[in-house]
Symmetry: C2
Subunit: 220 residues, 2 copies
């Protein structure tokens, strides 16, 4: 076993965030290895991406389990058997239960396509547009027992244009997701991420550029 | 009476946002005139700033009124007597009632030192820090009957540093407040601000720079 951080990526869908992580592992910008891609959906595009990259996969179909707890135990066992150290949710459409979290304390992270605490839950790009928010973004956070409430590791912010559709905005946010998810994992791999209550500290810190964005713009 | 948009600025405190608006009027970047500065606090620093700039002031002390409605009527009458077309809240520490809003429909604006809908209410910089948010900012919005819920005209976003105090963060946000409040007023003065439900459209649009901010930064 290499000394690289061993990731278990959980995905239910197409897996573009999985692909970004695969790419970051391959280009060397992410010092981790994907030990397992796990899905609950036998048709997940993520499986094909994993196969292409030669990554071990497993499908734990929730329909095969009458009790939620049994599904969770099966997922946890697969991850443990693969020696997973960090669980990375990448569009995994099953709620994470306390059973799961107890098996990987502060070792489950998620990415959410909004600037939390604004717009948790589902259909978040449409939520942001309907609210008239001038900015949205994405958030990588540790998963806790709430919905999109866990301690925040990294965020990216993008403007919302007044003629945006949910699809346009989703695309703009997704581009940032692909940057920040690998970055968050790399910070964890480097042992620089410390959690105290709901505050996450990066040590040594990596300050953002000291700037601001304004929307609508200040010119014209 | 000039053809410039006539502002009534309501302030209870030191009035740094008032000062920014005065400066913008004087340097010509804001095509408006402050017809009246109104305060409920006889000791408000805003009064001195108005006097220095030769602006008419009035103090309507809420302690002189036994009924809230009477206070509101007095405030509205002062504004109407001064020919105020747009009411600008700049740290006015009294809740705006429906009586007031009915007198100035979609003509009352406020600035809030957070990126709404995140962190409404009070002590918002501390709220953002305690939540572990990586970004906060400020919002200029039309005032409706809710607390910090009205349609958003313009927002600015700034990073929150992991060693920020509420004071540090407030200072970083305040710098942006001074930019965006005058800008929002100017857009209204130009007749470019249109409200449909809770969506505010700028016509012609002034798109932001198409960029993103990430915090913690992507380097090092």
């Amino acid at each position: 076993m290499s000394s690289k951080l061993r990731l278990g990526v959980l995905a239910s869908g197409g897996g573009t965030n999985l692909q970004a992580i695969i790419d970051s592992c391959q280009d060397g910008s992410l010092d981790a290895t994907i030990a397992l891609v796990l899905t609950n959906n036998p048709d997940a595009g993520a499986l094909e991406r994993a196969h292409q990259a030669g990554i071990q996969t497993v499908c734990v179909n929730h329909r095969d389990f009458s009790k939620r707890e049994d599904f969770d135990h099966a997922v946890v066992k697969s991850l443990q058997d693969a020696g997973v150290e960090l669980v990375v949710l990448a569009g995994f459409m099953r709620i994470i239960t306390q059973t799961f979290l107890d098996a990987f304390p502060l070792r489950v992270i998620n990415i959410h396509p909004a600037l939390l605490p604004a717009f948790p839950g589902l259909h978040v790009q449409q939520q942001a547009i309907d609210y008239g928010a001038r900015f949205s973004g994405c958030t990588v956070h540790f998963v806790d027992s709430g919905v999109d409430t866990g301690p925040i590791i990294i965020q990216a912010v993008v403007p919302v244009y007044q003629d945006d559709t949910a699809d346009n905005l989703a695309e703009r946010i997704l581009e940032q997701e692909h940057h920040i998810y690998s970055r968050a994992i790399q910070l964890i791999a480097e042992g620089r991420v410390h959690v105290d209550g709901r505050l996450v500290t990066i040590d040594p810190p990596c300050p953002p550029e000291a700037m601001a964005l304004v929307n609508p713009g200040l010119d014209t």
